[in-house]
Structures are given as C-alpha cells and as structure tokens.
C-alpha cells in the first residue's frame, strides 16, 4: 500500500529520500560532508514545519493511517498482555479493545479505541467508532480492574461514537453516560491518553480520569471540524476555520486546563517512529502511575471529581 504523505510533509520526505539516495554512493564518493549538511538541513526544515503546524494540519496528523493505534502501544509497552472480549450482554465490539498486562512491575488494565489500517481491518474495527457494547465492555473491564485494585489506562482515538440505527436502539447515549458516571468514582488510578482523534462523547466515554495526557499531534474537542463546519457554516468547506475556532490542539487544551500534560512526539510525528512514541509514552505512564499509586482511593476520587468540576468558564 502506498504510504500517505501529507502536503506539508512532502518537502521533508523528498529531502530525506535524497539523503537515502546519496548514502548508496557514500562508499565510493566522498560525500559524507554533504550528507551531514543535508541532514542538518532536513532537521531544520522539519523543525520549522512542525513548529508552525496549523490546527487542521494536526488533525490530519492525528488521522494518519500509519499512526500507532491502541494495540500498537499495548504491544510496545506491555508484557504478558491478555486481551479480554465482550460486554456480557450483547457482543464484542471490535472498535474498543482492552485487557490486562504488565507495565513495568505493575499489572494494569488498558482500554482503548482501535482503528484499522486498511479497508478490510477498518471495516472489522468499524473505523474506530464504537457501538454501545463497546462502552459497556470498557466499563466491565474497568470494574474488574477496580475489583482487583489495578490501575486503568485508557487510550482515546475515535472519529466518534457510531451514529447508526442499532447503536441508538441499544442506547448509545446511555452507554456513554453510564461510563462517565462510573468512571468518576472508580477507586483506582485512571490515566487517560489521547493518542489520535478525540471526537466528542465517543472519546470522552472512556476519558474520565485522574490524569489526562495528550500526544502532541492529537486533537480533542466537542465535534470534528468537518461536522462543525457543516452545522455552523452550513457547508463542508470551512473545516480549517472550524479547527482553528475549536482550539482543539494539545497546547490549546493544556492552556484551557482540559488536559494535564503533552506527550512529545518523535521528529516528524508518531507515525514516523512508533518505537520512539511507545517508549516516551511508557516512560511518562510509569512516572504518572508512581505518583497516583500513593494517593488513597477516597482522595483519588474526590480529586478526580474536583478536577472535572473546575472545567468551564462563566461570569455572574
């Protein structure tokens, strides 16, 4: 499958390819110096482009089909992972995965949205759009984690909860609401990581926790820019403006107090280097867990509710 190259990535990739090309002749020709100069140049170019990304460009990065997904992080970070299936009521939603595994020395539960990488796997994963049984599976697993006193890590990456007929019949809204309610008072540490797309209630449905971390090029908001454009501008053409207006980037959300910490991505974005992204995340998760584990369950819950209650701006 041809790799997707975003418009703003093109100059970087072209230069990188040129360097690759030159390396082939490095042994015969004395071009080592030239290669070094070009490497410096590509680093500079990458820095310039990536430090000036628009919000819409970040949305595109967050949706990049090569970006690491929940199962990728699980396999990179956890040992002895056991995936668990089903909500015990209706079925097993493939758009949300979860299971226990070891993160360093701790057994943790990881639950997250799961997208597919090609058409076939995307159909299997319903493009990462959960049905109610997905949220109910997540809740069942989180309640198991609470029962056995294991910390919970959730990974958000969804274009939204599935807006289908059956989803409505089975109570999409109730399933999400129930998760928000229950997650707010589970007596174990919960770390939420927005790894890609955080679209509205479908993302938040597994997103209530003590610490909310977000990858540098992920997005998180009340609605996707395209849908926002179609509703407020009555046209699909204002997605860039909508992305700007929604202030949905990691640095925006840190400023708004919605997230606690930004996870830096490897140069060029997480899709360019899975291993580095996984390593950074693991290191940060271990750090965060160490702090959270020391807090008593009652205090943890109290602080969690307080944290979300502070969110919002008003005047009186």
């Amino acid at each position: 499958m041809a790799k997707l190259i975003l418009d703003f990535e093109k100059p970087i990739i072209e230069l990188e390819q040129k360097i690759e090309e030159m390396r082939k002749y490095e042994d015969n020709l004395d071009i080592a110096g030239e290669i070094r100069t070009l490497e410096k140049k590509v680093d500079q170019l990458r820095d310039t482009i990536f430090s000036n990304l628009t919000r819409w460009q970040r949305v595109q990065l967050a949706r990049h089909p090569d970006r690491p997904y929940t199962l990728d992080y699980i396999h990179m970070m956890l040992d002895d992972f056991v995936e668990l299936h089903g909500d015990r009521h209706f079925g097993d939603d493939k758009a949300i995965v979860g299971g226990f595994g070891r993160l360093g020395e701790d057994t943790v539960l990881v639950v997250g949205h799961q997208k597919g990488r090609d058409t076939k796997s995307n159909v299997y994963r319903n493009f990462g759009m959960p049905n109610p049984e997905g949220y109910r599976k997540a809740l069942r697993l989180m309640q198991l984690a609470a029962k056995f006193r294991r910390p919970i890590i959730t990974m958000l990456d969804t274009p939204g909860a599935y807006p289908g007929m059956e989803a409505e019949e089975r109570g999409q809204a109730e399933a999400i609401a129930r998760n928000l309610f229950e997650m707010s008072h589970l007596p174990v540490p919960i770390i939420v990581v927005i790894i890609g797309e955080g679209a509205s209630g479908g993302a938040l449905g597994i997103g209530v926790g003590d610490r909310v971390l977000m990858f540098e090029n992920a997005w998180y908001s009340v609605i996707a820019p395209e849908s926002c454009s179609s509703i407020l501008w009555r046209s699909w053409d204002y997605k860039e403006q909508a992305a700007e207006a929604l202030k949905l980037s990691a640095s925006d959300l840190l400023e708004q107090g919605i997230i606690d910490r930004i996870i830096p991505e490897p140069p060029g974005g997480a899709h360019r280097n899975h291993a580095a992204a996984g390593e950074t995340l693991k290191k940060i998760l271990l750090e965060e867990l160490k702090v959270l584990k020391k807090i008593k369950p009652e205090k943890l819950v109290e602080k969690r509710v307080e944290k979300f209650c502070k969110m919002g701006r008003w005047e009186e």
Binding site: A161, Y162, P163, G164, M165, A167, E168, E169, R170, G171, Q172, A173, E174, I176, A177, R178, L180, F181, E182, S184, H185, S200, G201, L204, G205, G207, V208, Y220, S221, V222, I223, C228, I231, L232, W233, Y238, Q241, A242, A245, L246, K247, L248, D252, L253, Q256, I258, R304, V305, F308, C309, M311, G312, R313, W314, E315, E316
Partner: protein, 280 residues
C-alpha cells in the same frame, strides 16, 4: 415589477419558528388544526385533537409543576463568556448577547428550589429557545451547583431536559460538562438521593449522553425525540429513511430506556407519585 409592494415592516411571512406562538391563533404542527392560545394554555400547550406537545420553556414548566410561589431561583444571572473567542458566521459573544435580548433568558438552563404538591425539591429545567438548549459551561456549572444543593439539603432532584447537545462554541469546555454533571450525579447517587430525569422534545447529543440518561427514574413526554445522534446524521450514515417513530419516547420505552411515557397533563402527578414512593 410586482404590483403590490409591502410598505409596512410589521407584516412578515418568513418568521422564525417560535417555540410558543405569539398570536392568538396557532396551527398545530401535528394535525394542522387551528387552536386558540387560551385553549392551548389550558391544555398544557398540547393539541386537544392530536395530542401534539408544543415546545415550552422553563417558565411554563415551573408554572406547570411547582406549587404557586414556591420557586426560588439559584444563580439566575450566571452568563456565558466567550472563552475561545469563537467566531463562525457570527461572533459567539454577539450570539449570546442577542439571544439574551431575544429570549429574556440568561442561558439554556434555569435552576432552583421549589415544592411539588408540597414536596420540597431541587428543580432544573432547560430552555430549548436559548441556542438550541445547548450545554456549555454555564449549563454545566448551574447543574453542578443544583446537585450540590440537593446533596446539602438532601432534596430530590428533577431535571427537565430539552437540548440539541453540547454547545459547539465552547468546544472542549462544553464536552467536559458531560463529565462534570455525570460526576456530580454519581455523588448524589452515592448519597442515596433520588434523581428523576424528565426528557422532553428534543433531548439529543451530549445532554442525553450525560445527565438525561442517568436518572433513577426516566420519564419522557409522549412523542419526544430522544437520542444520541440526530435523525439527519443517522439517515446519512445508513443511507435510507428511518422508520416511523424511531427515536421517539415510545420507541425508547420499548427498547428499555424510559420508565414512563406521559402526557404533559399527567407530568406533575406522575412525578409526585414517584417521589412519594421513593422518599416517604
């Protein structure tokens, strides 16, 4: 050139659809019958002929449900700010100002304490007329404080929902109100205080995906549209028309999400009965 020119400004044809019609006579949206305003009022703003429920606001609900002179409003003047300087086709700050002027309301929810057939309660009611009953920071904060009051005074909570969902112009702040209100409701539930959720037409999006669906008892007005995604979006997803009655109160009851579907005229008695059974 047309023969007749409209010379007076006070004749209008393309007026905005109003929640409660201003004139003396109005046409029922359900059966097209012509009803007199007095008649409509006496019949709880429902059509005598077909039972269609007109959309009404917090003022009407408080009058309908609460014993006279018992309502004490809380945080009446809390207002939305424009934390993100949001501009679409219009500035959000202007939108707020204009809507306040147009509706006489300060935001999409009003909260307070009152009595219902002598039972003291905390009551919350949304106004669909205020930016589609959308939930932003003010709605979330007012509801959180109402729940705090219910917790402190050990009073049952009633929330009457009417909303298109979270307010886009406050973006992530709006989204977080789902978590905030749900977390407060968990505290209320842990304290063993009853919460009755009343869903009216329409209750969709983030409001359904948070407090509306978290009641101990779910009551819905007959015929109300209740759902997560709106019918237009679902139609787009599945590429065909939706069956008649889909996402209506009766349908949701059939699917197991609503305890009681009521006609508006029975709302007060139904709530009273439930409260007496749960709190006596």
């Amino acid at each position: 050139m047309s023969w007749f020119r409209r010379s007076k400004e006070n004749i209008s044809t393309a007026g905005q659809k109003k929640d409660i019609p201003d004139g003396q006579w109005t046409k029922c949206e359900g059966c097209s019958d012509i009803i007199h305003r007095k008649q409509l009022e006496q019949n709880y703003f429902t059509c005598l002929k077909c039972g269609h429920h007109f959309r009404i606001g917090s003022r009407e609900y408080f009058e309908l449900l609460l014993d006279p002179k018992t309502f004490k409003e809380m945080d009446a003047k809390m207002r939305s700010v424009d934390p993100l300087n949001f501009v679409d086709t219009k500035r959000y700050s202007d939108r707020i100002k204009d809507t306040i002027k147009k509706t006489g309301l300060y935001d999409a929810v009003r909260t307070g304490t009152g009595e219902i057939n002598g039972i003291p309660i905390v009551i919350v009611c949304m106004d669909f007329a205020f930016i589609g009953g959308s939930m932003g920071s003010v709605v979330g904060e007012k509801i959180a404080r109402a729940i705090d009051r219910a917790l402190k005074k050990k009073l049952p909570l009633i929330i009457i929902s009417a909303s298109g969902g979270a307010r886009m112009m406050e973006a992530a702040y709006s989204l977080m109100q789902l978590a905030k209100t749900s977390a407060k409701l968990a505290q209320l539930s842990d304290a063993g205080i009853p919460y009755i959720s009343v869903m009216t037409d329409p209750t969709t999006g983030g409001v359904t995906a948070s407090y509306a669906m978290l009641g101990d008892i779910h009551i819905a007005e007959q015929g109300s549209l209740i759902g997560f995604a709106g019918p237009r979006v679902i139609k787009q997803t599945i590429g065909r028309d939706l069956p008649k009655g889909f996402q209506r109160a009766e349908f949701l009851q059939e699917k197991g999400f609503i305890d009681i579907v009521v006609h508006r005229k029975d709302l007060k008695e139904t709530i009273t009965k439930v409260l007496r059974l749960l709190t006596d």
